[in-house]
């Protein structure tokens, strides 16, 4: 079972066949078509899809033509669910036209993003006829495409909700309230990990994590009580410990994952030797 099934566990899993660009592909009923395509090696450009999150359909790049029971429509592959006999085409002239305009828009929206330039170039788009968005004070360095992944991960997965969209229309940006350090941030860095254009600047230095893009939030890092290495932001450690049921045993809670594993193995071996030792006396 892949991440893609989160939230769909109630669905019965029925194997079905769908056609992608004429190729027969096995899928589970209700599976996200974009995920089937990627598994089958069919490239569909996408920016706002993340298997562990609810379908969003924000970036519009994964647009395909879908024919279901004789009805054809244009739709986003990241929100389209597989049904028996579904036919999907990823490069009809209409899809290509649509996609090219989008690439031009993204080149203007995030003129500093190498990811976008490379992605667009793969589809033959190297220039944009739209006005490029240039803002030297942009906290995201002209690389943000407003896909919303960071906001969704921060809210839906981490439950922190430290960042969100601000303003509207052409002035929309993502950041913390008042563009200042926000105590809701756990310092987990999930936003930077998920960002398709590597727009979010995070740095670990002198025992703290600095979130440069988010108003310079500083979160102290925690040292492993065994090996002494910094291994996680303090706030994240507290939040994880409070969420886990049951929590990590108190004698292990301050250890980094490597030391924790070592300690567990150590305890296992000792316990084993002890029983064996006891056995000898009998």
């Amino acid at each position: 079972m892949t991440y893609g099934e989160v939230g769909r566990r109630d669905q019965p899993e029925k194997p079905i066949t769908i056609l992608i660009n004429g190729k027969k592909c096995m899928a589970r009923e209700g599976e996200i078509v974009l995920s089937v395509a990627l598994r089958e090696g069919v490239a569909i450009p996408h920016l706002c899809y993340e298997a562990s999150l609810e379908p969003y359909g924000g970036c519009r790049l994964c647009m395909v033509e879908a024919t279901d029971h004789g009805r054809t429509s244009m739709t986003t592959a990241c929100s389209l669910r597989a049904t028996e006999g579904l036919e999907v085409c990823t490069d009809t002239p209409e899809v290509v036209k649509y996609r090219n305009v989008l690439f031009e828009l993204y080149l203007a929206e995030a003129p500093k993003s190498e990811t976008i330039k490379e992605m667009a170039a793969r589809y033959g788009v190297t220039k944009t006829s739209f006005l490029k968005k240039i803002d030297i004070e942009d906290a995201l360095g002209g690389k943000c495409v407003l896909c919303g992944l960071c906001v969704r991960v921060c809210t839906e997965i981490m439950g922190a909700g430290a960042i969100n969209f601000i303003n509207r229309g052409p002035y929309t940006v993502v950041n913390t309230p008042y563009f200042e350090a926000n105590t809701d941030c756990l310092g987990c860095g999930a936003c930077a990990n998920v960002c398709p254009t590597h727009a979010i600047q995070i740095e670990d230095r002198n025992g703290e994590r600095v979130l440069h893009s988010w108003g310079g939030i500083k979160i102290p890092l925690k040292r492993c009580s065994s090996c002494g290495k910094y291994y996680t932001p303090e706030a994240l450690a507290v939040s994880v410990q409070n969420t886990l049921m049951p929590p990590i045993r108190s004698d292990l809670a301050g250890f980094c994952p490597a030391c924790r594993a070592k300690k567990c193995a150590d305890m296992e071996i000792r316990a084993h030797m002890k029983t064996e030792g006891e056995g000898n006396h009998v």
Partner: protein, 162 residues
Amino acid sequence: MDEKTLDEIISRYDSPSGRLLGILEEIQTSEGYIPRDVLEMLSVKLDVRLSQLYSLVTFYSFFSLKPIGEHVVTVCMGTACHVRGAAEILTTLEKLLGIERGTTQDGKYSVTTKDNKFTLEIARCFGACSIAPVIDIDGDLYGYTTPERLPEILEDYGWREP
């Protein structure tokens, strides 16, 4: 706004869905803007992330993060008004009110005079194109405006030639 007043507003909204905008609207109306400490208090009281509230407040042009003046003068910069000289109306108003052009970080044009009497804003089409160029003061529309007529209009709202 003190905590008691905020609690009173919140208590009028019993259903958790859709109450955010209502509460924010009452804060905006009573304070003339959304003060930061009130927004932070609201976030704690409703257990809604500050980032979400800030997102809402910056999305709707109805809300303002800065105090606005006693009277709000809005100049229509829609197509019809533009063609009929809205730009000149705007520069004249700026001159009369003694303010410098400025856009806020959200791209919104909104400037308030030092004495907090007037806030000058711009809008796109009031739907009154037939009487262009149009300005709106505190909800009252003034059509066929000319730079010459502006002082007279403003005087009704307490403006005096400096």
